[in-house]
Symmetry: C2
Subunit: 425 residues, 2 copies
Amino acid sequence: MPRTVLAELASHVGERVRVCGWVEGITDAGEGWRVVLRDRSASAVLVVGACPPGMQREAAVEVVGEVVADPDAPGGVTVVSGEVRVVGPVLDELPLGDGSSLEERLDWRFLDLRRPRNVLAFAVQTTAERAMRQYWAEHGFLELHSPKLRPNPNRSGRELFSVPYFDRQAYLVQSPQFYKQMAMAAGFERIFEIGPVFRAFPFITARHDTEFTSVDVEMSWIDSHHDLMAFEERWLRHVIATVAAEHSDDIARLFGTEVVVPSLPFPRVSLDEARALAEKAGPHLAQPPGDLDPRGERALGEHVASTFGHEFVFVTEYPESTRGFYHMHTEDGSAHLRDFDLLWKGMEVTTGAQREHRYDRLIAQAEADGVPLEPIRYYLDCFRFGCPPHGGFGLGLTRMLMALLGQDDVREVTFLSRSRDRLSP
Amino acid sequence: MPRTVLAELASHVGERVRVCGWVEGITDAGEGWRVVLRDRSASAVLVVGACPPGMQREAAVEVVGEVVADPDAPGGVTVVSGEVRVVGPVLDELPLGDGSSLEERLDWRFLDLRRPRNVLAFAVQTTAERAMRQYWAEHGFLELHSPKLRPNPNRSGRELFSVPYFDRQAYLVQSPQFYKQMAMAAGFERIFEIGPVFRAFPFITARHDTEFTSVDVEMSWIDSHHDLMAFEERWLRHVIATVAAEHSDDIARLFGTEVVVPSLPFPRVSLDEARALAEKAGPHLAQPPGDLDPRGERALGEHVASTFGHEFVFVTEYPESTRGFYHMHTEDGSAHLRDFDLLWKGMEVTTGAQREHRYDRLIAQAEADGVPLEPIRYYLDCFRFGCPPHGGFGLGLTRMLMALLGQDDVREVTFLSRSRDRLSP
């Protein structure tokens, strides 16, 4: 007998249905039991004659019964049945309760994830990715799956996982950027990739994990980083509008957060302006040279919210000293770069840039930066045989979810998080 | 000035346009040069007054010119311009030519990928994934991003990459199966994931890579593996029909392969029947105990093609001795499993099964199999607190592309392939 999901019961009044889900609660109803059942779509009330062994809160059960109109029940119906089949009993006391700590919840993540707000987080993630892909498909993007094993360390060798690879060493990618650029040298013109990246952060914070999902875009035939920002803001508006249309009521109910569809264009400030604004907000917010720190990002986010009524701000044109040699400068000879970060609610969610595609300038910048050329020959070769102008950006998927759902800990919106101290479950 | 892609030139006759792409050829046209330009959409003819330095085959160029109707030119138009801008010159002799070997082409993969048939392979991949996701979205699936770093080796420890992880060892996942199952214990009910998996194959073949993209599905509330096969065949038919509608002409032209939309249901044979059929095809095809080898798979594929006129066949119900302890048996006490492989054109593309979700049986099967329980406690715990019946399957994305495009080497349809001897580019 095909299964009926609980959200659709109201259209089956008077019919026999099969429903499946988890027990949320059981109360004695005199001549039987009143069971609240939960599946991914909704919760509903069952009235059953008997409770078999193993039938308790969070047991997985199946019931065949008749749908009866019941104006007092949630959803307006109950399912009346003589019998419940416990297909997944609960064999021990549940290890999680209302007072469980974050670490306990992460230890028992599969139980923690059963909470409707956690299921919603992943429904929102699914919708957001679907909207991203829809926009990419409409704009001629190819999907890329680039290797996660790379042959050489990044320049600093910092926060890098190495992997013994037969008789040598491989390394886990920290970003697919080099491979995205190869796709541009290969004439793919516009690509996206959603995939894992790995960073051996040796510290524990609410915003850093050692493995996370990166959303990456690369585009050829751009004139500057302004083309990338113009693309990203339209793409993000489409994503947020899609999430708002499908989930804003649930997000308000379960997370207390309003999904705001952003207006275009997003505000833009240069890094120099951003630093000054952060420092004006408080002398204790003196910013590190050439960047914003998290407190500065928050101060800037608050300034943009109060001045422009906007959750987003692009911070543009970082000094060359703070970034990799492969960025294009604003003008040849300038000390500033054609790059940007995007902050959402005062948190960095994106870094992007136009790359330097002119071989002689790329070599000169690498040498000026002290980068040995031989180990990256396979990268440099891409610029010797007809490489178009290009650039791209990366967006952290879970950071996006944090902003969308008003969460301040990335572990709350990651399926199974990884950090220095956490490698399981 | 916005760019016009070459496939759309015909609708801009009489207009000034900006076109961008790579030079396929240059011939002296008397009072100027005739240049064949290629972008990802098409090729077209330009007539230009002068050829600047660096302008040669495979250079990346931009041209602003007028679109003129020209019935003799491919696409029915030429672009006439005084000037070409070389934005990505060719600085050396091209390292690839018509006679280049596979290894040379893989060394210079970004140049190899510029061939229209290779771009088509990734356009087909993009379309196939879009169709997969569309079907999942219509059937209530959530997208999963499960960790690629796991805390313990698989049972055999074979073909496993280890990763020094701070003060201990992590391992790269060979399959997301355990994590897909956790999502079922978490009440996600139906999930998919497209992501990398890693297998340290110590040998080089046309079908094995050390990193590849796995397409994974897991579903709860199934009755048996037959529900999984019924889902997979409908899903695949949708994917193949979508690819056929968008690309069958190009695939026929560039790969010489016909895309056949399969009829439903796919043929099904038990493993015992499959072994007998393979061995009947030739006494030299004696099959290893409990499985088919690649020659047996090909023989079975040919038998199914000639008998049923079908490219697909499900091979079902493997003996327990050949598979992991976590499979459900066909009946309690049976030596056969609720599992299946799917062959396409005589090549295995999928393995799937109903999992054993009953804790006591799972423990008994692990113990009978000699599996130590303590290291997998975090897995076993999922079955103690209301785990629904569930199962799933995995499909190799590049194996699917091999079958779709009639290719017999996975490296031809992988963006950048990884094997024992190849870790770059």
